[in-house]
Amino acid sequence: MGRRILITGLDTFWGGRVAAALEADAGVEMVLGMGTGTPSVPLERTEYVRADSSYSLLARIVKATQVDTIVHTFLVVDSSAMSARAMHEINVIGTMNLLAAAGAADSSVRQVVVKSSSLVYGANPADPAWFSEDTPRSRPARSRLERSLVEVEGYVRDFTESNPEVTVSMLRFANVLGREITTPISRNLARGVMPCVAGFDPLIQFVAEDDAVRCLEAVVLGSIGGTYNVAGDGKIPVSEVASIGGARRLPISPLLTRQVAAPLIRLGWLDLPGELESLLRFGRGIDTSKLKATGFEFSTSSAGAVARCAETIRLRKAVGPHLAPYRYDADVEAFFKHSPAIVRSPAPLKTRSARSATAAGTARAARSTPHS
C-alpha cells in the first residue's frame, strides 16, 4: 500500500507546491489537502477539504482517511500578514490540534513533517555566525511571531517524546525567495527598494523556493526524521541582496526604526515586519551540514535564490504577469477527479525517476538522490 498523506495549508504556496510534488510520485496512494481558502496550484489527484484554521475537524479527518503522514506547512512566518491573534490561532492552536489528532490512541499516523522557520533562532547581536540545529537562542524570543514559533516547536518536541513510534521531521527554513513565492522581501524587491537599517549591512541567507519544496518532498518520501536547517549555501550582505535584486537601498534610521518606517509601510511603499527589521540589523546564518549529510543537494545558493527572484521581477516588468492565475472551481475539480465520464488511463502515475523533468515547478531543480 502506498503512502496516504495529509497536507495542511493547501491553499498557500507551500501546501500547493508540496502537494503537486507528492501527488506525482507513484509511491503515494492518496494526497489530501486542508486549507481555509481555495488552492492556488492546479492539482491532479489531490483531494481538498476546506476547514477552519484551528483544525477542530482534523481528528475526524485523520481517523476517517487513515493517513500515515501529516505535512504541516501552514505556519505563518510573516507577522504583517495578519493580526497577532489570528497568527497565534493558526500557529499555536492549529499545531496543538494537529498533533493531538496525530497522537490519538489508535492513530494511523507514522510521520509528521513540520515546516518551521529559522526565525526560532532570532537575530541578536550575541548570535554565533552559524546556528546549528541544537544551538540555543542567545536571547529569549520577544516578538509574538517568534514566540509562537518557539511554542510550536515545543509542542512538536513534546509530541516526539511521547510518540516514539512516529517519525517527526522539523525543517527550519531560512528566508525563501524564488519565482513564485511572495514574501515581504520579494514584495520590496518588486517595488525596486530594499529597506535597510542605516549603518547596518548584516549577512543573511536565503533558500530557493524549488529547493525548499524539494526538501519537504525528500523528507516525506525518505521518512527522514529529526530537525534540520534548510538554507542555500553562503550568506550575503543586505547591500548585495539589493544589487542582485536590482533594487535601491532605502536606509531607515537605526533609532526609532519602527516609528520611522510605519508611515512608509502604511503608504504601501515598503514591507518591514518586525522580524525582518531585526534580521536587517543583525543578520542570521544557519548551518545546513546536517541536512546535506542525509544526501540532500541544493540546486542553488543564497545569492542564486535572490537572482531567481530578480529574474522573475524583470520578466514581470517586461511582459506583465506572464503566468495565467489558476482559479479553483470545486465543481470542475470534482468532475475531473471523480466523474465516471472521465476516461482514466491505466498507468496515470509517473515513477520518481521518469518525472524528474516534469514535476510541477521543480522542472529546473536538480534532483536529490531518493532516500527510500
Binding site: P125, A126, A129, T135, G199, K235, I236, P254, V306
Partner: protein
C-alpha cells in the same frame, strides 16, 4: 587564492556581486583598511615585533594579547603586522557590542572583526585552520585607568583556553607595549555610559589635548612594541563539549602570568614612551 572546500571556502558563486565572506570580511575592505592602517603602523606607532616567528605559518592558532587604551589600537595593528609579514589573514574576535553600533559595526566586520562566540572560534580555528586574535581581558582591559596600566585584569572565565583546547590549536601570547599610552584614561563616567548604553565612557588625555571630538578618535603617537611568546599547546583531546574547569583556569592563569612577566620585562627596557 584557490578555494578549498575543506576549509569552508565555497566554490565561486556566479550570482555573487561582492567579496564579503561568511564572516562579513571583505578583502577589498581589508585592502583599504591596510592602506590606512599602514600609515599608522609605520609612521604613527612605528610598530616593532619581537619573535614573530612564533606565529605558526599554517594551521589554526589563537593569538592572545593584552588590551589597552580607551579606543584600543592594538587589535588593528596586530592584524596589520601579521597580514603584512606572514601574509595570513587574522580574524579579530571581539565583544558583540560592536555589532550594535551602526556604521562602526559594519566597518569592523568588513575589516575582519568577528563576534567572540565559542562556535565562531571553533569554526575559524579548527574548521578553517586560520588565525584568530582575542583579548581575554575583554572590556576590562581598555577601560582601566592610566594609573593601572599594564596590570593585566582577570582573563575572563578562561573561555579562550577552552576554545583553543576544543579546536586543538596552540595559543600564541602577544605582549603589547604602547597601546596603553596611546589613549590613556584619566577617569570613567559610569552613569553617562549606562545612559548611552556604552560599555564604558572615558575621559582621556587625548580629550584634554584635542577636545571632545578629535580626542575620541586621534591616538597619541606612542611607540608600539609587540613581543610574541612561545606558543602554548595543550595535551588534551580536541572536540569535546567540556573541559575540566580547574585545568582551564590554571592554563588561563599561567598564560596571564607569562604575559604579565613579559610586559614587566619590556617596560623595564623601555627608555621612552614615544621612542621606545
Amino acid at each position: 587564492m584557490v578555494p578549498d572546500p575543506a576549509r569552508g571556502e565555497l566554490r565561486p558563486d556566479p550570482a555573487r556581486r561582492s567579496d564579503v565572506d561568511e564572516w562579513g570580511r571583505s578583502e577589498r575592505w581589508r585592502h583599504v583598511a591596510r592602506q590606512v592602517g599602514g600609515c599608522y603602523y609605520r609612521r604613527w606607532f612605528r610598530v616593532e615585533w619581537e619573535g614573530i616567528a612564533n606565529v605558526p605559518l599554517e594551521g589554526g592558532a589563537l593569538l592572545v594579547a593584552n588590551h589597552g587604551g580607551a579606543l584600543p589600537a592594538d587589535a588593528p595593528m596586530i592584524m596589520q603586522g601579521i597580514e603584512e609579514q606572514l601574509g595570513r589573514p587574522v580574524y579579530g574576535l571581539a565583544d558583540s557590542f560592536f555589532r550594535t553600533v551602526p556604521v562602526v559595526g559594519t566597518i569592523w566586520s568588513r575589516a575582519g572583526g568577528v563576534p567572540a562566540h565559542p562556535d565562531n572560534a571553533q569554526r575559524i580555528l579548527s574548521d578553517h585552520g586560520r588565525l584568530a586574535l582575542v583579548f581575554p581581558e575583554g572590556e576590562k582591559g581598555p577601560s582601566k585607568l592610566v594609573s593601572e596600566r599594564y596590570r593585566l585584569r582577570r582573563f575572563g572565565r578562561g573561555g579562550f583556553v577552552e576554545a583553543a583546547m576544543r579546536a586543538g590549536v596552540p595559543i600564541v601570547p602577544i605582549a603589547v607595549v604602547g597601546s596603553e599610552e596611546s589613549m590613556p584614561i584619566l577617569l570613567r563616567l559610569p552613569r553617562a555610559a549606562r545612559a548611552l548604553k556604552l560599555p564604558y565612557l572615558p575621559v582621556t588625555v587625548n580629550h584634554l589635548l584635542l577636545g571632545p571630538v578629535l580626542g575620541s578618535i586621534v591616538h597619541l603617537p606612542a611607540k608600539f612594541r609587540f613581543r610574541v611568546l612561545e606558543p602554548v599547546t595543550f595535551d588534551v583531546e580536541p572536540g569535546l563539549a567540556k573541559y575540566e574547569r580547574g585545568r582551564v583556569m590554571d592554563e588561563a592563569e599561567a598564560i596571564r602570568q607569562h604575559l604579565q612577566e613579559a610586559l614587566y620585562d619590556m617596560l623595564s627596557q623601555r627608555r621612552s614612551i614615544w621612542f621606545g
